[in-house]
Amino acid sequence: MAERVLMKGNEAIAEAAIRAGCRHYFGYPITPQTEIAAYMAKKMPKIGGVFLQAESEIASINMVYGAAAAGMRVMTSSSSPGISLKSEGLSYIAGSDVPAFVVNVQRGGPGLGGIQPSQSDYFQATKGGGHGDYRMIVLAPASVQEMASLTVKGFNLADKYLMTAMILADGTIGQMMEPITFEDVEVESYDKPWALTGTKLRRKHNIVNSLYLKPDELERKNFERYERYRTVEENEVMYEEYMMEDAEVCVVAFGIASRVAKNAVAQARSEGVRVGLIRPITLWPFPSKVLRQAAEKVKSFVCVELNMGQMIEDVRLAIECTRPVSLCNRTGGMIPSPDQVLASIREAQKGGN
């Protein structure tokens, strides 16, 4: 068995990124993700990599854009307000079809908000953030192990589909410590014939660009890109089901909220309530199909989120509003207690049809 080490979520991302072949890190410090930058600062010089603390978030995302265009495995990380600043660059990266890996260890918002954990960047991550028609693959880890595993997975997917893969974590998973193993996801490598590596006068030059002078050409690019997105939706959905076999109530939660929800589900089960949990691991592509199937069996849904109710919109859309969906939430850096979730489960069991 591969050796187990005790790591902080943020460190696990940094170490996994290095193991996935990332040798370029550009960032700007912000709590609660600074350990990623600190780990990179310590390790990159020892392995011939680049750690660069840029003058701002905007500079760092454009450095990511540049290194990605050159075909490098490259990443940046930040927390909520910093991701807002990076959003312009994320749109340019999407418009240029280059692979990038970005981490958002969320904190409370809006505005400067606070440093405590939050999930209130769900809309930003899954619906855009930057301008224009584009998608990012959004991965939501619920353990330190998944921080590592989904990082490797994220680099693979970004290269495979020429788009940004984002880890949408939160302050708690970034800061907490758990034992993990690294070698559980294989590092894949992809040819990058489009990369700006210098022609050496042996080939036609490559161009990485997001500006199109002719509208029909831009439209065609967007159509092509969305064809690729459809392939992602068909092939890359990940989720976990917990005690769903005979469930009457389905709790939907991702990331740290899913851990609290899991405790509440286990408690409710011990009281004889037939409840289960569906935990989306990819927030985009969203596991709509599995929720639609669940809607045929359960009476009602409960969304547990650390925000004012964001993923709940995708749940309602996925099940086409055929079942009632209630929200159990805290926000601003507060965490719902298992008892609060339990109360919502009991309430949901009474409702529905």
């Binding site: 005790l6 460190e11 709590t31 405590q116 998944e146 595993s149 800061q175 405790n263």
Partner: protein, 236 residues
């Protein structure tokens, strides 16, 4: 157990300093000592000494914590009250120092008082399961960095080998050669071995100077993580 007037716990971040400091303060209180603990961590935003405030209060331990601990204010400021630990010689003081050299800078302002009084134990908390201190040589490097930053030389080593809920007595026993090597390299004794209380029960008689620890339950502990430690299947 013999106690110095001031006991400091420092080490690589994530090595377990806060848990040990809290449990050591509780031990002092149980032995009837007038005890105070100070959170000197200026690095970590989450999981602080203050999380154990109710346990400490119940045991009669005086908790000195930065004013902004566990709030949204990300300000590395220490309370003036922390000076009491070095000035009031009637109390047994425990200091929870922040991780690595960055965390130990905060110690600098108290260092002259601590060195002058000469009644302290500066304990290096070591966990070989942490990726940046996998070898005794790496741990020694961290030790030297902390001493340079904090200005207080280490006097002892704490074996806190652990893999969180997966820790077994074997995890702790397997770390003994590591600790002995670190002891040899640094010239410092292995003073304590700290372990979660059920793990510590399995170590009784096998290892001297045990500090059994009660660890705080966390809201994000999973149902399968409760109960005795075991290895969980990995995400596939």
């Amino acid at each position: 157990m013999d106690h110095k007037r001031i006991t400091l716990f420092a080490g690589h971040y994530g090595s377990g300093k806060t848990n040990i400091a809290v449990n050591y303060a509780l031990l002092l209180a149980r032995e009837g000592k007038k005890t105070a603990i100070a959170d000197l961590d200026i690095v970590n935003p989450y999981f602080r000494t203050k999380d154990s405030a109710s346990d400490l209060e119940a045991a009669g331990v005086d908790l000195i914590s930065p004013q902004f601990a566990n709030t949204n204010v990300d300000l590395p400021a220490l309370p003036a009250e922390a000076y009491r630990l070095v000035e009031d010689k009637s109390i047994f003081a425990v200091m929870d120092v922040g991780g690595d050299d960055r965390g130990a800078y905060a110690l600098g302002r108290y260092a002259p008082f601590i060195l002058e009084e000469e009644d302290y134990c500066m304990a290096f908390v070591a966990n070989p399961c942490r990726p940046l201190t996998r070898t005794p040589e790496e741990a020694l490097e961290v030790m030297r960095e902390i001493e340079t930053a904090g200005g207080v030389p280490f006097t002892a080593i704490v074996n806190n080998a652990n893999l969180a809920h997966e820790t077994t007595p074997e995890t702790v026993l397997a770390a003994i050669p590591y600790m002995e090597r670190l002891s040899k390299l640094s010239g410092l004794p292995i003073w304590l071995t700290s372990a979660e209380e059920t793990v510590a029960a399995g170590l009784a008689g096998k290892i001297p100077h045990l500090l059994p620890m009660k660890l705080q339950a966390k809201y994000f502990d999973l149902p399968e993580q409760k109960g005795p430690p075991r290895v969980r299947p990995l995400f596939g």
